[in-house]
């Protein structure tokens, strides 16, 4: 559900005054995107709790929220990104993988984009091996389909910095995917 910006601002004001209905409308408008973003960034078992944490933080910070021209979702994505970072820091599960820069990448052909479950899991593993910042950029850019400018605003960085991060993130992701495919090829008894 997408709300016009003016309506979003109206609901924010009403929510700041204690209107639970307005808060519910905000939640309904932004929860699917936040949930989707978290689903790409965190284990499936944690997605619901992390999504709830995002909106609980939203409730907590709503009284001091300043309505500006920056879209409201930017704030929510920032909260979500911070929640995920905090989750991985506390759980110790997040580890950046030192990638072999020489690892070849054999990307799938265009007609092979629809991956099977095994390949999808490999892609997600590769994605999760990227840095927190890189994952944020790639998910926002290619899952949430945000523009470079929007991603820059969400992550509070310059567009140039986002493009640079995107560039490095895709290089590493391609290598990881190639490594995954190569591993599967070896497991199937293929030859290098």
């Amino acid at each position: 559900m997408s709300l016009p910006p003016q309506q979003v601002k109206q609901f924010i004001r009403r929510s700041q005054q204690g209107d639970a209905e307005a808060l519910a409308r905000l939640y309904a408008a932004f929860a699917p995107a936040v949930y989707r973003y978290i689903a790409f960034r965190a284990p499936a078992s944690e997605v619901e709790d992390l999504t709830a944490e995002v909106f609980l933080k939203m409730v907590e910070g709503l009284p001091s929220y300043q309505i500006t021209e920056v879209p409201f979702e930017v704030w929510l994505y920032r909260i979500a990104a911070a929640r995920i970072t905090d989750y991985y820091r506390k759980s110790g599960r997040y580890q950046e993988t030192e990638l072999n820069e020489e690892m070849p990448f054999e990307g799938a052909a265009p007609d092979e984009n629809v991956l099977d479950e095994q390949e999808r899991a490999a892609l997600m593993r590769a994605l999760h091996q990227l840095s927190d910042e890189q994952q944020n950029v790639l998910v926002l850019r290619f899952v949430e389909r945000k523009s470079h400018e929007e991603v820059a605003r969400i992550l509070d960085k310059s567009v140039t910095a986002i493009k640079s991060i995107q560039h490095r993130a895709l290089i590493q992701l391609a290598k990881l995917i190639g490594a995954e495919k190569q591993n599967r090829h070896y497991l199937r008894g293929g030859h290098a």
């Binding site: 949930y35 989707r36 619901e48 609980l56 990307g107 899952v143 389909r145 560039h167």
Partner: protein
């Protein structure tokens, strides 16, 4: 590692073209670049959607926390929008209720006034008698009937030049021919030059009960439905009707003639100081002859039969009646 000739800006431009922002459909990734293909793979992934159960469950938690943050806030009920037809019907119903309430209130007002005399009461009228100055009679009427002290009404109508105020809440016309008496009695004078018939009903075909003489003051206690007849109180509590056109709230300026052709002074309608009856008391209203206009000599000030001036009714006696206390 395949060749990657694209720098960050070039890659961004290529991605904007291949995977345009805001597009949710699967874009074409017919691109030989490995980085473009990696991005396409990511973009081609199924987008997880939150289930309704998860959505509701999380919302419950969020709203619970929200209400703890705003404990004093009452949830506002959702504003319902009604069809214009319903709105008009509701408005009409409201106006009907208001109108009915106003009518009931109005009826209650009449009922209250009927039970409780308004300030324009007999007592109030009696208090104005001090200002009365009887006009001297050129020829005292030999037929003037001096009223006895007991006949004298304890409370007499105003004889001032100022006409008594008309009742502010005259009984509204009813569907009966003879409406209830006016809730606020007032004094009127026979303005006709000849005696006026007092009838049993407000109709010329009705029986004549008695007559009242020109210039006589009468107590009007009601009005007919058509407004043509005034109901007056006679002595002994009797009620009669007089043509309204023959009554005037203004005291006639000159002495009037009796039916016998003799000119009689208009007897001042003052309280008798000797009666000792309190002006305006409830008792006086119930006494027979208080406001009757039947002669001999009561309220209507008809000329007495014996032609004597009633004691204590002369001009010199007026100061003694100040205050209408009934005490000398």
């Amino acid at each position: 590692m395949p060749e990657n000739p694209l720098n960050a800006d070039e890659l961004a431009d290529r991605l904007n073209a291949v995977l345009p922002p805001g597009r949710s459909d699967l874009p074409s990734t017919d691109d030989g670049d490995a980085l473009i293909r990696a991005a396409s793979l990511l973009a081609a992934q199924p987008r997880p959607e939150i289930s309704p159960d998860d959505l509701a469950r999380i919302q419950t938690r969020v709203l619970e926390a929200y209400r703890q943050q705003f404990p004093n806030h009452r949830p506002q009920p959702a504003r319902k929008t009604y069809h214009p037809v319903w709105r008009w019907m509701a408005a009409a119903a409201a106006m009907t209720i208001i109108g009915a309430a106003a009518l009931l209130w109005r009826s209650a007002q009449f009922s209250t006034q009927a039970e409780t005399p308004t300030p324009i009461s007999i007592a109030a009228l009696a208090t104005t008698t001090d200002a009365y100055t009887p006009e001297p009679s050129a020829t005292p009427s030999p037929t003037a009937l001096p009223p006895t002290p007991t006949d004298q009404p304890a409370v007499l109508p105003s004889a001032t030049d100022a006409p008594p105020a008309m009742p502010t809440a005259t009984a509204p016309p009813t569907d009966t021919e003879t409406p209830p008496p006016s809730p606020t009695p007032f004094i009127a004078y026979v303005s006709a030059s000849q005696p006026v018939n007092v009838r049993a009903e407000p109709s010329r075909q009705s029986d004549i009960i008695t007559t009242v003489h020109p210039g006589a003051a009468v107590m009007v206690i009601g009005i007919s439905a058509d407004g043509d007849w005034k109901q007056i109180r006679l002595d002994a509590g009797r009620i009669g009707w007089v043509a309204g056109a023959l009554l005037s709230p203004n005291k006639p300026p000159i002495a009037t003639s009796t039916s016998a052709g003799t000119t009689v002074p208009e007897r001042p309608s003052l309280p008798d100081a000797e009666t000792g009856v309190e002006s305006g008391s409830e008792d006086q209203n119930s006494r027979g002859g208080d406001f009757g206009c039947e002669h001999p000599g009561n309220f209507c000030n008809a000329p007495g039969q014996d032609g004597k001036q009633p004691p204590g009714q002369g001009k010199k006696d007026i100061p003694n009646n100040k205050g209408n206390s009934g005490k000398p």
